[in-house]
């Protein structure tokens, strides 16, 4: 069964993409993920300067998903340039992920990191647990979204995906702002919340940052609704993200309008070969329903409304 897909000119042999911040710290780990079936990979988000991130605990799981407050630990753009080389030799497109405190930092990041190696860039405006970045800095407002997108657009010809927050309200407006700023696609969504889990024995929040973004199954129905709303709002393609654990989750996102899906927390539940597994589940479904390609199901839920 052919399950290849195309997003903003990017050709993927299958619709599964490694989400940013899961594995993706080194070239080798990307290579290992590609070996496990990913159609593309997004690297861990990179900032201008090195960041240690929050102290640990940085991640915990609970009965409905996962929570994290990593705080954008990364070696900074110079180290990243040394780390991410010969990416074109890998069997799948590698997408950069950049963060910044304002449009200027984002612009510098695009200038410094992107040339040469990467196939596209994800611009992250949506982390809910890092002061100075994402939703904590209001980067998810339509105004800031458009401003930052424009700044990055000026510095690169690569496809730009704006990664937005499920807590953007109304999310369609944020997507429109990204489109207006020159984005080639939307990644929906980043973690939600933040949430808090307290250890009742000590009364202490478990995450060192106290709160963290919620990912995994708890996020999935919200992510599917975000994709559905964004599909109605903009023409540029959507990459779904949030709680994809099984093929059926990915299929829901495709039907809601996504052209591909990112997978992060799912690796915890099903191992790094989750990409192979989800692709197999998608193929089996397509065969059973006699679909010939993903275009038969991308946006299907909307087509049924016509």
């Amino acid at each position: 069964m052919d399950i290849k897909t195309k997003i903003a000119g990017l050709k993927l042999k299958n619709p599964t993409i490694l989400a940013s911040g899961i594995l993706g710290v080194s070239r080798s780990s990307l290579q290992n993920v590609v070996k496990n079936g990913a159609g593309a990979c997004v690297i861990k988000s990179i900032s201008l300067e090195e960041r240690a991130g929050h102290k640990a605990p940085n991640m915990i799981t609970f009965e409905a998903g996962m929570m994290n407050a990593v705080g954008y630990s990364n070696p900074g753009v110079e180290e990243a340039k040394k780390e991410f080389t010969k990416l074109k030799e890998l069997d799948a497109p590698i997408i950069a992920s950049i963060i910044g405190k304002d449009e200027n930092e984002f612009a510098q990041m695009a200038e410094k990191l992107l040339p040469g190696e990467f196939s596209a860039v994800e611009v992250v405006l949506s982390c809910p647990h890092t002061p100075g970045y994402g939703t904590m800095a209001g980067q998810n407002s339509p105004e800031n979204t458009e401003k930052i997108t424009r700044a990055v657009r000026k510095k690169t010809k690569l496809p730009i995906f704006i990664k937005i927050s499920p807590d953007s309200n109304p999310i369609g407006e944020v997507a429109k702002a990204a489109e207006a700023g020159g984005a080639d696609g939307i990644t929906a969504v980043n973690t939600m919340g933040p949430g808090m889990i307290i250890d009742i024995q000590t009364g202490q929040p478990i995450l060192h940052f106290k709160v963290g973004g919620v990912s995994g199954p708890a996020l999935r129905p919200i992510a599917v609704r975000c994709i559905y709303d964004i599909y109605k709002a903009v023409k540029i393609p959507i990459i779904g993200c949030g709680g994809v654990t099984y093929g059926s989750d990915a299929l829901q996102m495709l039907m809601a309008g996504a052209r591909a899906v990112e997978i992060g927390t799912g690796i915890y539940y099903r191992g790094s070969d989750i990409f192979h597994k989800v692709n197999k589940e998608i193929s089996e479904f397509m065969t059973q329903k006699k679909y010939v390609g993903l275009n038969d199901i991308i946006g299907l839920t909307h087509k049924l409304e016509e």
């Binding site: 911040g21 899961i22 594995l23 993706g24 710290v25 080194s26 070239r27 080798s28 780990s29 990307l30 290579q31 290992n32 993920v33 861990k44 090195e50 960041r51 240690a52 991130g53 102290k55 640990a56 605990p57 940085n58 991640m59 915990i60 799981t61 609970f62 009965e63 409905a64 998903g65 996962m66 990593v70 630990s73 990364n74 070696p75 900074g76 180290e79 780390e83 889990i197 250890d199 024995q201 000590t202 202490q204 478990i206 060192h208 995994g216 199954p217 992060g264 927390t265 690796i267 915890y268 539940y269 191992g271 790094s272």
Partner: protein, 272 residues
């Protein structure tokens, strides 16, 4: 805690039930809880509002877990100020472990620094299995030597080496290991200690093409295969899940092994 979504990775707060001063720099902290871990596996300890760090299991029997910890920095310093009864969080056990085959007759264990801890746990298991155990235990000086009495109680053949000769032979654990490898034949060699020492021992085993297993410590955050902080350059595999215990062959395949490791930000730090 288990559910259909998988193990729930949250620290369980437990009181410290006993603290034993092992050496000038190492204390063992005991907890009352069955973790049924294997030698070489690790747990992650949480001190609320301080940090969370990985430690190999040193003891795990009769529902008692022991962690032998060196005071090296902020987290361990904070821990060393704790008293019996204080609560800390623990989650795990995580990772691969030192396996013993049933047909093993004699094995060599080579430990340095707190690396002696998981190997002592392994020695206990091996002796139970009636395997003859040679244990090369090295330290800079007598006062830093870990588990001399414990290993004697286990009735292993203890080969002590100190740089200053204050106990056992004067020299390094490498010398002691060379002796053993010269005198006896082993079914397998198990190594845990400073990475450069580990590398040297693996090379020795390679010459004699002796099967050996080694524990590779990398920076860990999640411990359950998500964050990618512990991935080795080369295979890109996770030392919290596919490791920390791997074969010597596997270790040598990775140019990173013995050369550098990554810090909290992912930046490379080279071994001197």
């Amino acid at each position: 805690m288990e559910n259909a979504l998988g193990k729930i990775e949250q620290p369980i707060s437990l009181p410290i039930v006993e603290i034993v001063e092992e050496t000038a720099t190492v204390k063992t902290f005991f907890f009352k809880k069955e973790f049924d871990s294997q030698p070489g596996q690790f747990v992650i300890m949480w001190i609320p509002r301080v940090d969370e760090k990985p430690f190999s299991v040193s003891y795990d029997d009769h529902g008692r877990l022991g962690l032998s910890i060196a005071n090296v920095g902020p987290f361990t310093k904070n821990l060393f100020n704790k008293k019996v009864g204080d609560l800390v969080g623990l989650r795990g056990p995580y990772g691969s472990w030192f396996k013993l085959k049933n047909n093993f007759k004699r094995i060599l264990l080579v430990g340095g620094g707190y690396g002696v801890a998981p190997l002592a746990f392994l020695a206990q298991r091996a002796v139970k299995q009636k395997i003859t155990v040679d244990f090369c235990n090295g330290a800079r000086t007598k006062s830093l030597l870990l588990f001399k009495k414990r290993l004697t109680d286990y009735k292993v053949n203890l080969h002590i080496s100190t740089d200053d000769g204050s106990d056992g032979i004067k020299g390094t654990v490498i010398d002691a290991t060379n002796d053993c490898l010269g005198k006896n034949t082993y079914d397998a060699v198990y190594i845990c200690g400073p990475e450069l020492m580990e590398k040297k021992i693996i090379d020795l085993c390679a010459e004699k093409n002796l099967e050996c297993r080694v524990s590779i410590e990398r920076y860990m955050k999640c411990g359950f295969g998500i964050c990618g902080q512990c991935c080795l350059d080369g295979s890109g595999e996770r030392m919290c899940l596919e490791g920390p215990v791997v074969s010597g062959k596997y270790a040598l395949k990775h140019k990173e092994f013995g050369a550098y490791h990554r810090g909290k930000s992912g930046r490379k730090e080279y071994y001197k």
